[in-house]
């Protein structure tokens, strides 16, 4: 990776560069002059039964939240979303929910590509460097966890 890594960014692993399928051409740049800042992914639908999985919150807390929605919250279906590194965790949560329901729950997974935007800010504003943005793609998963008799 030729990108300069901003230390504060390392805590957002799921937008990390590891598995991006970015097709944008590599931008030539001087690694000392730019700071890479990753914007948040674009806003996505947020219903009460949408669960966005991240890598910061404790796994059990996220699982418990889903269980609560399905059991206590009276939802017949929930949607578990994961982006990048959090895909694994989203799948894990969905499979755990299914396993603990003794087969009552079904999974329907869809995949998609999410476009992410990085800002490249010149370290020194007096230098000639122009602020740039770069887009790259990352994979995402959306798992519907539902009771099959639900319409």
């Amino acid at each position: 990776m030729t990108e300069p890594r901003n230390p504060s960014m390392s805590s957002i692993p799921q937008t990390g560069p590891a598995h991006t399928d970015s097709s944008s051409p590599a931008v030539e740049m001087d690694p000392v002059e730019y700071t890479l800042r990753k914007r948040l992914p674009r806003k996505l639908p947020k219903r009460r039964n949408d669960v966005y999985v991240n890598m910061k919150t404790d796994f059990r807390a996220q699982l418990a939240r889903c269980q609560k929605l399905l059991e206590g919250g009276g939802h017949r279906e929930i949607c578990v979303h994961g982006l990048g590194l959090a895909i694994n965790r989203a799948i894990n949560i969905a499979l755990q929910l299914q396993a603990s329901s003794q087969g009552a729950l079904q999974l329907a997974a869809n995949t998609s590509t999410v476009e992410l935007v990085d800002d490249l800010e010149p370290e020194d504003p007096d230098e000639a460097g122009e602020p740039m943005t770069r887009t790259r793609n990352n994979s995402a998963i959306h798992i519907k966890v539902f009771y099959p008799d639900a319409q």
């Binding site: 910061k56 590194l85 895909i87 995949t111």
Partner: protein, 243 residues
């Protein structure tokens, strides 16, 4: 823990089992010392790597095909942690586009009709990425996604004594994605019709009248995050803050 950790002398067939891990697209992930993959529910208390053990072998147990009724000759791309996407896609695209039949099997114009990408553990993300790239490049592909747990057998060897070996049965999440040029059953859970790349959200929002107005697909609405420093330092976690 659901791991059956059996500490025992490892039989001789292990080396043989290691050797046949060379599947299409599989770049050696056997010899790499890798930290144990994340486990389902209680987070792994098992950290063999830090206790003087190293992983010498990893084999996936055979499991039935997640797509019943699939023709036996379908190309299966087994994506591994170390697989290079360009290698996987170079091979798979050539077969799907039928560029003068790589193996001479399917020369009958247009290439293969279907391909399956499978991957488990840390290779799941890469598997999805491969499928997404292929959908974008080939177009008009019907997709069926299946999730399940897969049992992986790992053999760990003590780095100190060299005498003790452990066999670990680990369950890892795995994904199988079937991409087909021919229509698939839309009633099957996990089915995605062609070109849902961006329409996915629109369609879902349509089913829920309570949600906010539809998002445009054009330039992304970042107006709610004008200060990107706040985004970087703040609670910006994954797709959205939890509340």
């Amino acid at each position: 823990m659901e791991n059956g950790v059996t500490s025992s002398m490892c039989p001789v067939y292990q080396s043989q089992a290691c050797n046949n891990a060379g599947q299409p697209g599989g770049v050696n992930n056997v010899s790499r010392p890798v930290k144990p993959a994340p486990l389902p529910v209680p987070p792994p208390a098992l950290k063999l790597g830090q206790e003087g053990f190293k992983k010498v072998c990893r084999t996936e147990e055979d499991s039935p095909c997640p797509f019943p009724g699939l023709a036996s000759g379908v190309l299966e791309m087994r994506v591994k942690e170390g697989s290079k996407i360009r290698n996987l896609m170079g091979f798979a695209m050539a077969r799907m586009q039928g560029e003068k039949g790589v193996s001479g099997v399917n020369v009958s114009g247009g290439g293969l009709r279907q391909v399956v990408f499978t991957g488990s553990g840390r290779a799941v993300t890469k598997t999805i990425t491969c499928a997404e790239i292929m959908k974008r490049k080939v177009g008009c592909l019907h997709q069926l996604t299946k999730l399940r747990y897969k049992v992986v057998k790992e053999v760990w060897e003590s780095t100190e004594g060299g005498t003790s070996e452990m066999t670990v049965h680990r369950t890892v999440p795995s994904i199988s994605i079937l991409l087909s040029k021919d229509p698939l059953d839309p009633q099957e859970p996990g089915y995605q019709p062609p070109e849902t790349l961006s329409a996915l959200w629109e369609e879902r929002e349509g089913t829920e009248p309570a949600t906010a107005s539809k998002r445009s697909l054009g330039p992304l609405p970042y107006t709610s995050f004008p200060d990107c420093k706040r985004v970087c330092l703040g609670e910006g976690v994954s797709v959205l803050p939890p509340h």
